[in-house]
Symmetry: C2
Subunit: 335 residues, 2 copies
């Protein structure tokens, strides 16, 4: 993707001060890459909590063009200092593992819920004019009552992570409504691509699949019929960039889907196709995951598309091929 | 109201161990009064946080028939010990001031959100069969998008209290869905009656109105046209008792309204009528309250009525008269 100063849609980022929490993660690092291309001053904040998404390898190619500050979003005084003077905040830091949220609910609450409230209080205090884009999640809908799921679908989170992400997002909408903060939330489907964790199945089924096929081993498909969408990271980044500049999105929570839904089996086959070989085994869902699984999920993101003209552009085969190519070169950085 | 062992609907409470958090508050103390009448072993837990609802005067008449344990629901080990062996939990402890939630959001989060998650983890561990009724609130809907508001109405909390109560309730529903806990939430409208705080306007406009008329002073009506419902505490108690015994309500969040909605002016006039005199002044909404006000609110509680046969029985004139009578005798205990 061309990321240059010549893309006039994003001229608003030129010389802008932009802070990204979760900045060494999958989406944060890809956002940073676009933003330095636009001439922004980029500050990446990451907690480097083990087993979260932060990985210095994600910014190896832009390391000398960004500022990196290791700090946890729960650290009030660090955040107060870092937020002051920023023009944009991409608020991506999160605990994203559904299973971990059930086993360590307090930690999930602290990061996804309490730290969001604190961050917004700090935004009010030191950067009230800043544009904020919060990374929400389709997880807050829980098991769909109808498909595709639009923003009016009831919220019935199916795990602790979903409850905390629901509350974290609601603070953003509230601080818009009450204090006029320029913030919005994008309810993301599964995002994948170069830079994602592939060490294990903690955050996303696809990561461990990628690792296994690259290592020439079989990967496991749990269940298989459930439909999911996958959004390539560059398409997610585009949505964040557009949302940050589009004032009309302020105060809204907007779905961001991933184009065509596939069954897990269909995704497994696409991965093997993209890799030029590989094999997988179907397994029953592990019990502790089954009880928090949400079944089929298909997103209706018509509202965001209409508001902004955004649409995903990288199809699954291409996205998987680019991911495999990246990890073949950089595998050891991600194990 | 007759509260005796002869009410066969509530035979399930006879000799049952019942814990009530927020037990010295308006609803908690009135629940306790009914429950001791049924022959339950009642444990009242209250933090006695200043300016919350707890007041020992509320249980003066039943003090020797209940056990009182002063402890905060945030106190994990105290809660673990107290919950063990209980058959019922009425989970009423909360920070209920909307304005305080904006000025001290961390405290509201700790009590209404984080402590709920912790309490449910403890229920799983030490009392997994216990029946739980959580005190929810209509505040989580925010400004109504239509009237009357049913349970399918979108959740868009208008203050920090609403976000935290939304999350607190969602944990209850989640722990039902995932772990099979026998819990439900009642989304209450404004509850009033003998035992409510009347010292100031922190929790409920009616409290300070009562105080002013009893002191022969004018009270202030902010705005005046907004419609609100008032539910007399005994009717609220009846809803809690029924919900605790009705297995079909488990996993549900159910609206509890207050019968006829009145404008604030209509309520002010009813209060003066019930008092046999008094006067009030209309005022503009104070700015800090205006921005979190939700406008008209009318509840559709048809689902709970259909499921249980419950309906409010104490009309406004009667409820106000009984409240005034109570505070005339006990005023000094509430100032």
């Amino acid at each position: 993707m061309v990321t240059s100063r010549s893309d006039s849609r994003f001229a608003g980022f030129r010389d802008a001060r932009v802070m990204i929490t979760g900045g060494l993660g999958l989406i944060g690092s890809a956002l940073a890459r676009r933003l330095v291309g636009f001439g922004a001053e980029v500050l990446l904040v990451d907690s480097m909590v083990p087993d979260a998404g932060g990985n210095p390898a994600n910014i190896a190619d832009i390391r000398d063009r960004v500022r990196v500050n290791i700090a946890d979003i729960r650290d009030r005084e660090a955040m107060r200092h870092l937020l002051a003077g920023q023009h944009f905040l991409f608020d991506l830091a999160a605990q994203t593992s559904h299973l971990d949220s059930m086993n360590a609910p307090d930690h999930d609450l602290a990061v996804n819920c309490a730290a969001q409230l604190q961050l917004l209080e700090l935004c009010r205090a030191v950067a009230p004019e800043m544009a904020v884009v919060h990374a929400g999640t389709r997880q807050i809908y829980g098991r769909p009552q109808y498909l595709p799921v639009d923003e009016a679908h009831p919220l019935r989170p199916a795990d602790v992570n979903g409850v905390n992400k629901m509350a974290g997002e609601a603070y953003h909408l509230l601080f818009h409504d009450v204090y006029g903060l320029n913030t919005r939330s994008l309810r993301l489907t599964n995002v994948y691509g170069p830079g994602m964790r592939i060490r294990d199945a903690r955050q996303n089924f696809l990561g461990i699949w990628l690792r296994r096929v690259l290592e020439g081993a079989a990967f496991e498909v749990w269940g298989g019929e459930q439909r999911r969408e996958l959004l390539f990271v560059e398409d997610a980044v585009e949505a964040f960039l557009i949302a940050a500049l589009k004032r009309e999105t302020a105060g809204q929570a907007l779905n961001i889907g991933g184009g065509e839904p596939y069954s897990l089996l269909g995704l497994a086959e696409a991965l093997i196709r993209a890799n030029g070989g590989g094999h997988f085994e179907r397994r029953e869902f592990p019990e502790e995951r089954k009880r928090i699984d949400i079944g089929d999920f298909v997103t209706d993101d018509g509202r965001f598309r209409e508001l902004t003209g955004w649409a995903p552009r990288v199809d699954l085969d291409d996205g998987l091929a680019r991911s495999l190519k990246y990890y073949r070169r950089h595998l050891t950085d991600y194990l």
